[in-house]
Symmetry: C2
Subunit: 402 residues, 2 copies
């Protein structure tokens, strides 16, 4: 309790960076993640935990884990302690379906969650908050539901195991035990509390004010009686970008009051915009991001034209002074998506020293992203309406813990 209290107080103190589910910005341009960890009151995900995950899962840690893309956590060690004792857990992640096409930043939590599902052999629930998008954006109920279904296809294309995965949209699934949990959660959260955490004003509509209970509910196994009936003690692990932390701070505060474990979190950096690391990519500026619908030519053009370079202005200067990797977007993107550690290390060193030019790095990035996007597009094209129905069917998952 003391931990959670401290966070809320600190969230209210304004500082030079704002990170919440609707806004990510920093005065200096670059998010200070150390400061964010301190402000939110979460823990840094250190090498010891990465090694522990490798030992427990008997496989190398995901690139996103060993390269610090997922860099912070809450109670992850508790989940691993329980796992080591033979207790399973379930994964919960989600997406607000605000746009038709996903960009690379949207794929990050799903790629990582797929790894977690495979490595730990655990069930997964994926919430599509079409109600949230209908409430926050000027979208009709029907358009929000349509986007949820389109986004579900992209999510399924990431390769989730249908025998262990339940995808649901709020507009379709809210009701029954899920709704009853929403009410239990709402009873524990005052208006003052959500104003403190989320900054709502009197002009915000009443749907927004109670929405945090809807994002909280999947953190509790009793919201899914078709999956976890009689397993109220099951722990929940939530992989997400760190801007979602406010929802789950609130959820963790409520959890013991309604008889559940606090959900554990694995929290990622924001995937940077092409123009530079000033926050997360924006679906509303098509030139700030690579989309899964972009062609090879689009990708090449966007990278060449918009990707902020830490290299020097001329080939001559680059050979003399080398590149500043701290601000170089192509290198940052490679850090996410170039799986070969040796190649990445070689590029970083040679680029920093000036042995290779920006053009070389951008070319390699375009190859890698084109491959990634083309694989995704082929996978998505193979997702049928029947598969969407099957993933979204309210059903038991008989082999979810095998």
């Amino acid at each position: 309790m003391a931990e959670e209290k401290r966070e809320d107080r600190e969230v209210k103190e304004e500082d030079d960076q704002v990170v919440n589910p609707w806004e990510v910005s920093a005065n200096g341009g670059k998010i200070d993640y150390d400061k964010l960890i301190e402000k939110f009151g979460c823990q840094r995900l250190d090498d010891a935990i990465v090694r522990r995950v490798e030992r427990l899962t008997n496989r190398p840690a995901h690139v996103f884990l060993r390269r610090g893309v997922f860099f912070a956590h809450r109670d992850f060690n508790d989940v691993l302690d329980a796992y080591e004792r033979g207790e399973k857990f379930y994964l919960y992640t989600g997406r607000g379906p605000s746009s038709e096409a996903l960009h690379l930043g949207h794929l990050v939590p799903f790629m990582f969650t797929k790894y977690l599902q495979e490595a730990f052999k655990v069930p997964l629930v994926i919430q599509l908050t079409d109600d949230e998008k209908c409430m926050w954006k000027n979208l009709s109920v029907e358009e929000s539901r349509r986007l949820a279904r389109e986004n579900a296809k992209d999510i399924i294309a990431c390769g989730f195991d249908i025998t262990k995965t339940f995808i649901f949209s709020d507009f379709d699934y809210v009701g029954g035990d899920f709704y009853r949990n929403m009410v239990k959660i709402q009873k524990c959260v005052t208006h003052n509390k959500v104003v403190g955490i989320f900054g709502f004003t009197g002009e915000d509509h009443i749907g927004k004010i109670s929405f945090p209970s809807i994002q909280a509910a999947p953190s509790f196994p009793s919201s899914f009686p078709h999956l976890f009936s009689g397993k109220d003690d099951l722990r929940c692990l939530i992989p997400c970008a760190i801007d979602q932390d406010p929802y789950f701070r609130m959820t963790r505060d409520v959890a013991p009051r309604i008889g559940h474990h606090k959900p554990a979190l694995l929290e990622s950096l924001f995937f940077p915009a092409l123009q530079g690391e000033t926050g997360k990519m924006s679906a509303s500026d098509p030139n700030s991001a690579i989309y899964v619908t972009d062609s090879a030519k689009d990708i090449k053009n966007k990278i060449n034209k918009y990707a902020f370079s830490g290299g020097q202005d001329s080939a001559e200067k680059q050979r003399l002074y080398g590149a500043n990797l701290e601000v170089d977007i192509p290198v940052k993107y490679l850090n996410f998506f170039l799986e070969d550690d040796a190649e990445l290390d070689h590029i970083r060193k040679a680029y920093a020293k000036g042995d290779i030019l920006t053009g070389h790095v951008k070319k390699r990035l375009a190859e890698i992203l084109t491959g990634l996007v083309e694989r995704h597009r082929r996978a998505r094209a193979a997702v049928t309406e029947e598969m969407v129905d099957a993933f979204m069917a309210v059903r038991p998952l008989p082999s979810m813990f095998d």
Copy 2:
């Protein structure tokens, strides 16, 4: 729109009486209903409307209508205009299941709604707001649901036609189109608005703040696709006590913005407490009310001991000065439940003149209420769990407009 705006402004102006869903009180003790009509902006239900109802339904108006128990309305003439053109409507009423046993005041809207259903031959939805009671009272979800089911038995015992009646509890029914309508409603209502109408504070929990959307949703036919699919134009008529008016002022403001008619209202006086007309009966004070579970002896004792009398202190004085019917609770109760107009008229006149004593009036009232309560109890005893399931089943009502 102008009408609705005016109401909200006036509700904010504090005066000497408070009438909202959670509080009914007046400084002078007695509610000034004329003032309430003016403040809320509804219309008085006059004799012309009563006669019109009799003509359209081809039967005498219900006692509650011709004696002014239902005394105010909103847009009832519009519903009757449409009915006269051959358009049907549906009825919506409800109950917050906060106590196991209902008192006579609780029966009033149901007795009247049963009459409306029979007279107009229209379908009826009855909302049991178990979620509301769980939110406002210190009741668990499970206890609230149990009370909803117990109360459903009392409601069924009022004699509703199962082929025209759908009873639902929020904890069971919220979801699907109902939930999607909740979100549409929520999007139209700011926090400032509900603070203005209901007086919520920062210490109120977020469930309370969004609850008004849940009581609003049944006013729209699209919340019941199993009943009214493709009938989005169907009008809704809500019989209720006037303390529920704030919910439906809000609902009427929202209705045109989400493509529905404004619901019409028929609004009743409060059923007075035995101790005198200072508001509505309270389930928390067992001696303020006659319960449907009270025995003949209980009823006789409560009336003799607690029913406030407008008669004189002694038989002698009563014969000299007569009774003050304006404050006499036995006469007020007879006004609700003694159906025989001639007998009621006789009692009123004789009692006012001093020809009969308080004891006589109380004795007659005890007979009438004992009969009413015993009939109710027999009817309730005949309500099986299967009947409750049948009334609460999500199903079409094939003969609902016959």
